[in-house]
């Protein structure tokens, strides 16, 4: 018996060869995606509905307090804490970053120690230390180290509540800022430094004109994160009874018992100002993106 196993002739469905330009593309369909969209949409609408109809939100109370003088003043204090904390924090941070990048092992170690210490201590603990500074050092004096002093200040007078808070926030911020700046500087191509050095450009100018503007590209997104997190972090200062936004809101709902709408007042301000910061970030980043294709 002959074992021939020819494959059965495949049904030849000869289609007329259409020219490539006439071919129609049929996109893949994603039915489950539509189910997910529908489910999410229902949840969102329910949430929005709740926001409007649930009397617990007390939107009238929210509206009454959103722009009262107490709240506006508190917003201003929060902004001041953020601004000064950021400015001082990054100023110190830049110095610490360059100390860590320095060729001198002593400076490097001090910078490392600083970052290590201030990243290890919880902000709230540190703030309480600063607040109690007067207890540790009754007076600060300016003079020859370990020698006679020229001036001295009463610590409590010098380090008021607000300054203690700014100092605490800034020193904490500086440790993070230092690492961010250092990372940015390290990300600049070494060839840039060589080119600048080979052109005889003075050292400080190399840093200001060549290195920092390029480092800014990688510093900015991280720095913006830090500023925003500091901005919200100022609420921690409420433990020191400073009249920033969160503290003031607590005071008000302590008096009138309207906790939820007042928390919403604070929330709305935090969201509003964070949004403003993000817009600023966008434009600053665009400025430093000059000459780049990304």
């Amino acid at each position: 018996m002959a074992l021939t196993s020819d494959p059965p002739a495949a049904p030849l469905t000869k289609e007329p060869a259409a020219p490539a330009t006439d071919l129609v593309v049929v996109p893949v369909r994603h039915p489950w995606r539509w189910v997910a969209v529908a489910a999410t949409a229902v949840l969102l609408v329910q949430f929005a509905h709740g926001l409007v109809t649930n009397p617990g939100w007390e939107w009238d109370v929210f509206a009454a307090f959103f722009t009262t003088e107490t709240v506006l003043k508190a917003v201003w204090v929060t902004l001041q804490l953020t601004f000064h904390g950021t400015a001082l924090g990054f100023a110190i941070g830049i110095v610490v970053a360059f100390m860590r990048l320095s060729a001198n092992p002593f400076l490097r170690s001090v910078a490392f120690g600083y970052i290590w210490a201030f990243r290890s201590i919880p902000l709230i603990v540190q703030l309480l230390f600063w607040f109690n500074l007067a207890y540790l050092y009754k007076e600060l004096s300016v003079g020859i180290p370990f020698g006679p002093s020229f001036f001295s200040f009463d610590t409590m007078g010098l380090v008021g509540e607000m300054s203690a808070a700014v100092l605490g926030l800034a020193l904490h911020q500086a440790a993070y800022a230092a690492e961010i700046v250092r990372g940015g500087v390290l990300a600049v191509d070494e060839g840039q430094l060589e080119a600048a050095a080979s052109l005889g450009i003075p050292k400080l100018r190399q840093v200001r004109r060549i290195v920092l503007p390029q480092a800014m590209r990688s510093i900015l997104p991280n720095a913006a994160n830090e500023v925003i997190s500091l901005f919200k972090g100022t609420s921690i200062v409420s433990v020191m009874a400073i009249g920033e936004l969160f503290y003031q809101v607590q005071v008000v709902y302590g008096r009138n018992g309207r906790v939820v709408p007042l928390l919403m007042v604070a929330t709305a301000w935090y969201i509003l100002l964070t949004t403003a910061l993000s817009v600023v970030q966008h434009y600053v980043e665009r400025h430093y993106a000059k000459g780049s294709t990304r």
């Binding site: 060589e194 050095a197 080979s198 052109l199 005889g200 050292k203 390029q214 430093y288």
Partner: protein
């Protein structure tokens, strides 16, 4: 060599001679330069050839003190680079003084290293303004003339990323020229370029050679060496194996290693 005790000033725009004496350089256990002696006369073009890793870049970088030597001396126009000599002692110069010395020495890198966040014009103007304290207006006018000379007058306001490799390298050359250096160092200026862009950069360098600026060029372009070089130097394993006029070194090399190298690149 004059035993200068002060940093002499050579007027800008004049061309410089180079004397390299017994230069040694180590990178950790690696002995990269093993006693280099080289004289480059003012206004001459020296082309340095040699296999990869032979120390060509390192030698070039010691000339403007981007690399510190471990032994020997380099002087440009009789002035020690990186040191001040007093009697038998060499005193290291401060960074500020070294930076000042470098304004007399132009360096062109293989990968251009233009400042990407500055326009072409700002790239060229930066060093004259900040290192030589030229008035900006004056420096810009000079920069525009230089850009015209390298054929890029219309690119002054562009950013480096918007230019081709060949154009970027020509900007880098203009940037080096803006200091009116007496000496120009080129480290494989065309190695990072697409073949069709090599010519435009070599043409600019040839023009410069004709103006009588002292130049030391590391390159693998043998044709360029033959055409432009006054002296060809062949390096291998941290030593200068042979040197002489291009006709001698390229056409009738005396050393086996030179011959082996040339047979590979030609």
């Amino acid at each position: 060599m004059s035993s200068a005790t002060t940093v002499e000033k050579t007027p800008a725009g004049t061309t410089a001679k180079v004397e390299i004496r017994a230069v040694h350089k180590n990178f950790g256990p690696l002995h990269v330069l093993r006693g280099i002696d080289l004289d480059v006369r003012a206004g001459e073009v020296t082309v340095v050839l040699g296999p990869s890793g032979s120390g060509k870049s390192t030698l070039l970088r010691t000339i403007n003190h981007l690399e510190k030597v471990d032994g020997g001396t380099v002087s440009v126009d009789g002035v020690l680079v990186g040191y001040r000599r007093s009697g038998n002692k060499l005193y290291e110069l401060r960074e500020r003084e070294i930076l000042k010395q470098r304004t007399r020495i132009g360096f062109v890198f293989q990968n251009f290293h233009l400042f990407p966040h500055l326009t072409v014009l700002e790239n060229v103007v930066e060093a004259p303004v900040s290192a030589l304290k030229r008035p900006r207006k004056e420096a810009e006018a000079a920069a525009r003339r230089l850009l015209e000379r390298v054929g890029l007058a219309d690119k002054a306001e562009s950013y480096p990323k918007q230019l081709s490799g060949g154009q970027q390298q020509r900007v880098a050359i203009a940037r080096a020229l803006a200091l009116e250096p007496g000496l120009l160092l080129f480290d494989e200026p065309t190695s990072a370029l697409d073949p069709e862009l090599v010519g435009e950069v070599l043409d600019v360098i040839k023009d410069l050679a004709a103006t009588g600026t002292t130049m030391i060029v590391v390159t693998h372009e043998i044709g360029f060496a033959r055409e432009v070089a006054d002296t060809v130097v062949f390096m291998d394993e941290g030593r200068i194996v042979e040197q002489g006029p291009p006709a001698d070194v390229l056409d009738s090399p005396r050393h086996e290693r030179t011959r082996a190298f040339l047979s590979k690149v030609l």
